[in-house]
């Protein structure tokens, strides 16, 4: 009996404190797949606008924002009902966006007009249009909210922008076709992935100098297969996951030594990544195998493939 009770306690302890919801945008199916992080199954598939790409959940978990790239708008869903509440006016062809901590401002990269649109989501009003390089893509906001970064695919730069005045602070030249940018949790460094260059540049936020350029010489892969795109960082700032596109692998990088600890085989054409807030799982959106791979973060192992819609691209986790 005692043993049974112990086993029961162990069971309760082992089960996660809460289940999160994972939202995946399917670029060609024009849908959003909703996954339960506890059962690791699809709970819902919701119709979205044309070509849904970048996706984020509001800080309170109540709203889901999705770039409907071919409709030039950001769709807002109620996460409780998954009903479309409204479509916000963004600039043309929105792809990725960042959000401030309060959740009332979106910073949207508009691929077609070389601008970053700053949108007040409460008033549905454009606060500013900031001219940047050609084909803006990645967007990141520093943890203190003071610096905005945009990467431009054609100009091959990370543009540092003052988030209050929207004046350009600096430009940092990185390798070809920068796709994604993320700040370290302490805000001291910015990581930028270059899809065609095949590298990740780690930039000092203070003096905007490249501290390290990470290459991915994975054994057995050709350089053209290695195309770094989406990234996620653990809260302690020690580990960064980098999606390598058509290499079908996620690189696990030690953020202190910049060594690559592992290349995990996931689905085909891996685009973006999402960590559950408890950092138990990493979800990867796989554009060609039309599925989501679940990685057990502690074991650094792919444990499951969950079928999604056609061409999954973006993925985000609920905060609660």
């Amino acid at each position: 009996m005692k043993a049974f009770r112990l086993a029961l306690v162990a069971c309760v302890v082992a089960s996660p404190a809460s289940a999160y919801r994972i939202y995946v945008t399917n670029e060609k199916a024009n849908t959003i797949t909703v996954i339960d992080s506890d059962t690791l199954t699809v709970t819902q598939t919701v119709k979205a606008g044309r070509r849904p790409r970048g996706v984020r959940v509001s800080p309170d978990g109540k709203l889901l924002y999705v770039c409907a790239s071919d409709e030039d708008g950001i769709q807002v869903f109620d996460t409780a009902t998954m009903k479309l509440l409204r479509t916000l006016e963004s600039g043309p062809d929105p792809e990725q966006f960042a959000m401030n901590a309060a959740g009332d401002l979106l910073y949207i990269a508009n691929e077609d007009n070389a601008q970053v649109t700053v949108l007040d989501v409460v008033k549905n009003q454009v606060v500013a249009n900031v001219p940047v390089g050609v084909e803006p893509e990645g967007m990141a906001l520093s943890p203190d909210g003071s610096v905005l970064v945009n990467t431009s695919e054609t100009t091959n730069m990370a543009h540092f922008i003052d988030a209050k005045t929207f004046r350009r602070i600096d430009n940092v030249l990185v390798d070809k076709r920068p796709r994604y940018a993320v700040f370290t949790p302490d805000g001291s460094r910015l990581w930028v992935s270059s899809e065609v260059g095949g590298t990740v540049s780690v930039i000092s936020a203070k003096n905007r100098e490249i501290v390290k350029k990470i290459r991915f010489d994975a054994p057995g892969l050709t350089p053209e297969e290695v195309q770094p795109v989406g990234m996620r960082m653990t809260r302690d700032g020690k580990t960064v996951f980098v999606a390598l596109g058509p290499a079908n692998r996620v690189a696990v990088v030690d953020a202190e030594t910049f060594e690559i600890r592992k290349y995990i085989l996931v689905g085909q054409r891996v685009w973006h990544l999402a960590l559950t807030p408890d950092e138990r799982y990493l979800f990867t959106a796989n554009g060609n195998s039309n599925d989501v791979t679940v990685i057990d973060v502690a074991a650094l192992k792919a444990i499951k493939s969950i079928p999604a819609g056609a061409a999954p691209l973006g993925v985000a986790s609920s905060p609660n």
């Binding site: 994975a218 054994p219 892969l221 297969e225 079908n248 085989l265 085909q268 060609n288 195998s289 493939s305």
Partner: protein, 226 residues
Amino acid sequence: MRGFRAHKVALMLRSLRSRRLEARGRPTRLSALLLLAFATPALAGGPPPADEDWPCPQRRAGAISRAAIWAGPAAESRWDDDREAAALARKLASRRTPLDEADALIEAFAKQAGADKDKRLTLVFEGTLDLINGERDKVMSAIARYARGQKALAAKVREDAEKAADAQEGQGDITAPDALEQAHPDLKWDKRIFDDRAQTLTYVCESPVLLEKRAFALARVLQEKL
């Protein structure tokens, strides 16, 4: 996007026909317009192509790497030395075998593979990848040939159009429907072939991708049985 551009060229040609009126008495302008339509490398567009003979929006990539689809062990012998493994590899690689039958075929093989199951499944994987890479290579060469053919055709249409415009200069009325094309049947046919081919480009470009997807899906099922 390049496929789309090629289609656009075809559309431009069509709109040229409706602009025949404008061309009246201005054969040089007609010729210039046709030249313009075909002067841009007919199949190019977007960022400058790294490879002139590659018409697809997808990057031209070499053979599918083992490491991009396989996390299992490396093969210890040649796959075609194991006859059963080779036979299964051939069956799996063939596009005539529906993908949803692959699981049962692999399962059956794994069951009777004996103690060397993992080694033999690895050989099946090696064989499947080799065969699909071989087919993919052929498809890619065919696409490059197709692109060269389109380029040559574009040059010919351009030349014919110039000749047609020259011949028309100072002569009769070309505003009657299809007068230009009737007077120059070659031009009409070449344009039609060009249009048709341009429209199938998207489909053609998808075939290497479909092979990559097939190789990945098969590797995944094989790995699950290890």
